[in-house]
């Protein structure tokens, strides 16, 4: 699928803009160029998937947008403001388990509201909404230690969403889960996004996952990370897991896979 920007999309505001962003890591004598001159415009409320082999810099890209890493050169802006540090406008869902073990499910989900100083009533309203969207109502007062991996990921998702960020950054959030749980959560995430739209930047190495979840898929090259290609398959907006078996899906998947094999290292 060639890169085509439809006229209508050009009119949508840009949520995040990366301008010639490079990130260089140096430790002692060695230097690593993780990201090489990335130009990227992320549209408002789009579901963007960033794909690539391990070590291609996709996590560095996410960390730079999140504010954990300063670009060595170039600038990153969100809604025109420069990205300086981490903040609730760009909430992050990590791959590793980041659910706070000493807080119950509802305390975790309500955390962002609590540190904003909201009243108990307001916090509860937000918690009510998102705990229902991820289907964990019966586990409202449970400790994370009582939950399975998939359930904890759902808490993590609800927690990030409840922060009401402009952008939700997800770093291979389903990477540590088994396939069945992963697929369930993929479907749930897409449903969550349709119910509560916002800009999503989703990192994955799984092409099927990227194609299922994303409006646009960006493929990155191995280190140093550059944008190899951008794909916009124009799949139906509402799609469930069965869509993965659709002819269009399989065709897109094959095309992108073949274009990646040209340079990919296993």
């Amino acid at each position: 699928m060639a890169t085509t920007e439809r006229e209508a999309d050009k009119l949508r505001p840009n949520e995040i803009v990366l301008n010639s962003v490079s990130v260089r890591f140096s430790s002692g004598t060695s230097e690593v160029l993780a990201l090489d001159n990335i130009d990227l415009k992320v549209r408002e409320n789009e579901f963007l998937c960033v794909m690539g082999p391990s070590g291609c810099g996709k996590t560095t890209l996410l960390n730079a947008i999140a504010g954990f890493v300063r670009p060595t050169s170039g600038r990153i802006e969100i809604e025109g403001r420069p990205v300086v540090r981490a903040g609730p406008d760009r909430a992050v869902v990590f791959q590793a388990d980041a659910v706070f073990p000493w807080m119950t499910v509802e305390e975790n989900i309500g955390f962002s509201q609590r540190v904003r100083g909201k009243s108990e009533k307001e916090i509860n309203q937000v918690v009510d909404r998102y705990i229902e969207l991820v289907g964990l109502q019966e586990f409202r007062r449970a400790w994370p230690k009582e939950l399975s991996g998939g359930m904890k990921k759902r808490v993590d998702l609800a927690r990030g969403y409840a922060a009401d960020p402009e952008v939700l950054l997800l770093d291979e959030p389903f990477g540590a889960l088994d396939i069945m749980t992963k697929e369930r959560l993929q479907e749930e995430l897409r449903r969550l996004w349709l119910a509560s739209p916002r800009t999503m930047i989703f990192i994955t190495h799984d092409l099927e996952e990227a194609l299922y979840l994303g409006d646009r898929i960006i493929v990155m090259t191995p280190r140093p990370g550059r944008i190899e290609s951008v794909h916009e398959p124009n799949f139906p907006h509402e799609r469930d897991l069965s869509f993965k078996l659709d002819d269009k899906f399989i065709k897109s998947r094959r095309e992108i896979h073949e274009s990646m094999s040209a340079y990919a290292i296993t």
């Binding site: 980041a98 706070f100 540190v115 400790w143 399975s148 359930m151 922060a163 069945m180 369930r184």
Partner: protein, 279 residues
């Protein structure tokens, strides 16, 4: 939709993993908790056999028999009760004070590099000094005052807790602070809601050690200069060669520290009830 239905079912099938406490306790009995009771009984029998009049392997002055200890308890009982209260009061204030100051400063040192660099040399140079060696100075400065004894306990506890806290903070996985930051938490929020609860499991050990140390320190302080307290009473009994009272004092110390340690463990078990501990 068919897919949504299967989603519902699988969600209900997801059971949170947790064993029941009743099953765990009966398992402990099978494992050998009865052995603990057995060993105590044997130990008591041995004591009776060696020291009790009639068998008389050991002279009763050298090692009092259980009956002598019980008699002593009856004789000096009410005076002893006051002593116990006095000792426990000093211990409690010193322990709690040392814990609060120790954890407090430890957190501050982790929060601010400047605070850390300022206090670190002071703490690291004074910490290795055996607190007991400071007693003569304390006698000089505070006399036989309560303050001196409490301060001794406080310093000993402080030395342990401040270092333990700094290390515990360092051991908190970075991902929690990062996650908190992206959710809008300020540095103060992070310390209050992430770091402070997060370090609790790692402080249980140091707290128990500090409590045991507190007993040693309070007795040492009372030996050096006091007019009341269990340690003082033991010292007095030594002057009068009342070995039965001495042993009674020791037994009481054993009971008190055991009970307090148990209480501390219970408290910390509640504070850390969220954590996965290999009980």
């Amino acid at each position: 939709m068919e897919n949504r239905q299967s989603l519902q079912d699988t969600r209900q099938a997801e059971q949170p993993p947790e064993a029941s406490t009743a099953a765990r306790k009966s398992g402990e009995w099978r494992e050998g908790k009865y052995l603990s009771i057995l060993s105590v009984v044997l130990y008591l029998l041995l004591w009776i056999a060696i020291t009790e009049d009639g068998f008389g392997i050991v002279s009763s002055t050298f090692f009092p028999s259980p009956t002598m200890v019980i008699q002593a308890a009856v004789t000096v009982g009410d005076v002893l009760a006051n002593d116990i209260i006095a000792t426990l009061a000093r211990l409690f204030v010193g322990f709690v004070g040392g814990t609060l100051v120790g954890i407090g400063l430890g957190l501050l040192m982790s929060f601010s590099k400047k605070v850390y660099y300022f206090f670190d040399p002071l703490i690291e140079s004074l910490r290795p000094v055996p607190v007991i060696a400071v007693i003569p100075f304390f006698l000089l400065w505070f006399g036989i005052n309560e303050v001196g004894k409490i301060l001794l306990v406080l310093l000993g506890v402080f030395a342990i807790m401040v270092v333990s806290t700094v290390e515990a903070v360092r051991n908190i996985p970075k991902i929690y602070s990062q996650a908190a930051a992206t959710l809008g938490a300020s540095k103060t929020d992070i310390f209050r809601r992430i770091i402070l609860p997060g370090i609790m499991p790692q402080l249980v050990g140091p707290l128990r050690v500090s409590l045991a140390l507190s007993f040693t320190l309070v007795v040492a302080a009372e030996f050096m200069g006091a007019q009341s307290g269990l340690g003082y009473r033991i010292l007095e009994a030594r002057r009068l060669f009342n070995t039965d009272v001495i042993l009674l004092g020791i037994v009481l110390f054993g009971i008190l520290s055991g009970v307090l340690d148990r209480g501390l463990r219970r408290l910390m078990a509640y504070v850390t009830r969220w954590s996965e501990r290999n009980v």
